[in-house]
């Protein structure tokens, strides 16, 4: 009984320590982002690694999701003779929800894992210590470029994913379900409002922060060689997945109840 309670207590303290560490890293990263010197080259390198290199996987994920959405909704909509609304359904669910979340999950799996593994390897081979002895701040040198790159690339990838998904829906809607092409486009763009796209993008900015900070935090606190790097990578992905879904839920509720978006 006592063991059980003290274990619970330990877990809770561990949780507090973790959240504290993550928060401190986030604050220091944001702060360091605004402190000169500003270097363009590392940020651009990260933008290529994070953004451009993620285009194919985001393309595939969102294309298939758009297609599946169209097919699954057709199953119901056809019964109600409301096939036309498939276009609106695909467009709205992608921009408001699936585009940001799926893109973030894919990027967390691809980029979050690689950031955690890279920083973790640097930690265990003492490269992060070396950076400090060379009077450079690891947060400024390693975390900030990744943070800035992810912060701007994830929303861009999300817009790209939205468009690809809509095209996927179009392919099914027009070529398989025989909706007229210009009708499909009308039904896609008409119900779509700025706020639908904006709420999606606000989410993806938040997801970018989650992915970067969790991956860097996990990477920089690795102890104990290759095994530690492996488990940090897994943890970075799992924790960012959970936080992305939780944050999505929170934001959706906030937009819905708070601003009736």
């Amino acid at each position: 009984m006592n063991g059980w309670i003290s274990q619970l207590g330990e877990r809770f303290i561990g949780f507090l320590r973790y959240s504290g560490g993550v928060t401190v890293l986030m604050v220091r990263t944001v702060f360091s982002s605004f402190v000169p010197p500003f270097k363009r080259k590392p940020v651009l390198e990260q933008m290529v690694k994070i953004g451009i290199d993620s285009l194919p996987i985001v393309f595939l994920t969102c294309l298939f999701t758009g297609m599946v959405l169209a097919l699954q909704s057709a199953y119901q909509m056809q019964k109600m003779e409301a096939k036309l609304y498939i276009a609106s359904l695909v467009a709205l669910s992608l921009t408001r929800e699936l585009g940001p979340v799926l893109t973030a999950l894919v990027v967390a799996g691809r980029v979050g894992a690689s950031i955690a593994a890279e920083l973790g390897t640097m930690k265990v081979t003492e490269q992060i210590d070396a950076l400090e002895t060379l009077a450079s701040n690891p947060i400024k040198y390693l975390v900030v470029p990744r943070f800035i790159a992810l912060f701007f690339m994830l929303p861009l990838l999300t817009i790209y994913g939205d468009i690809v998904g809509i095209v996927g829906g179009y392919m099914i809607g027009v070529w398989r379900l025989n909706i007229l092409s210009n009708l499909y486009w009308d039904m896609t763009w008409n119900p779509l409002k700025i706020k639908d796209i904006a709420t999606g993008l606000i989410k993806s900015f938040a997801f970018a922060v989650i992915i970067c900070i969790i991956a860097c935090y996990e990477g920089m606190r690795v102890e104990g060689g290759a095994e530690g790097v492996g488990s940090a990578t897994t943890k970075a992905v799992v924790i960012s997945f959970i936080l992305i879904i939780a944050a999505d839920c929170l934001f959706t509720a906030l937009f819905y109840f708070g601003f009736s978006f």
Partner: protein, 249 residues
């Protein structure tokens, strides 16, 4: 002058440094010997402020390193060069950018001057013309020497060497020893070297200190260490398998 005063450090309940006291004079080369895992690297990391002690102080030119942070600590670190045990080269940069790291980050030198300085440093460690290689393309001994070039690139006043000759072939090891001696005589650098290579220790040291079970158990000139009566030190420098030092210590 570098002073370690009552330095204590434990990881959980594993005591690594137990009231270490040591004074290192300006311009002196001191060699710390001791078995693997006694805390030699941990001691170096305290001197440059990478680790914070549980208690005690590290005073460098009147400043307590353990209390410094941020900019003050970085300013102090610019006076340091450190060679890590595993070299700790940056995988993502080529040799030139590794060696020139501080020059690029902390000085306004133009590229041509940097190239020249990097070439000089690489020549000093016997690795001319490998600027464009990646650390992954180097052997262990070469990495060590690139690490050495990076440590001396800014003409530091204090250099910390963590096992400078381990993994380097015997001929090159002797060259590394010569380099350490040279730097000391020409630039009057203060050097703290950690090693268990006794040949190297005798060659470069002004004084040798032995760390054992978290304490400095003996300190003296190479002559004094050679002729010591302390059984711990005797066993270590002769490399005998039997003696007061046992497997579990």
């Amino acid at each position: 002058m570098i002073e370690l005063i009552n330095l204590c450090k434990a990881f959980d309940d594993h005591v690594v440094l137990d009231n270490v006291n040591l004074t290192i004079r300006d311009g002196e080369t001191i060699v710390i010997i001791g078995r693997s895992g006694t805390g030699k690297s941990v001691m170096l990391k305290h001197i440059i402020g990478l680790m914070k002690p549980d208690s005690g102080q590290v005073i460098i030119d009147g400043q307590d390193v353990t209390r410094l942070g941020g900019k003050e600590l970085n300013d102090l670190r610019l006076k340091f060069g450190m060679l890590f045990q595993g070299a700790a080269l940056f995988d993502s940069l080529n040799v030139r950018d590794n060696v020139a790291f501080s020059l690029i980050e902390h000085t306004k030198m133009d590229d041509a001057t940097i190239d020249k300085r990097v070439a000089e440093c690489l020549e000093l460690v016997g690795l001319k013309g490998i600027e464009n290689l990646r650390p992954s393309e180097l052997s262990g001994g070469m990495r060590k020497r690139v690490g050495l070039a990076r440590a001396i690139c800014m003409d530091p006043k204090i250099i910390l060497y963590d096992e400078p000759t381990t993994g380097v072939d015997p001929i090159m090891a002797d060259a590394v020893n010569d380099l350490i001696k040279d730097l000391q005589s020409k630039l009057r650098t203060t050097a703290i070297a950690v090693t268990h290579d006794m040949t190297s220790a005798y060659k470069i040291a002004d004084r040798i200190a032995m760390l054992y079970k978290g304490k400095i158990v003996e300190i003296g000139t190479p002559e004094e260490i050679k002729n010591t009566s302390n059984p711990l030190v005797k066993q270590f420098i002769t490399g005998a398998a039997t003696g007061p030092i046992t497997e579990d210590s």
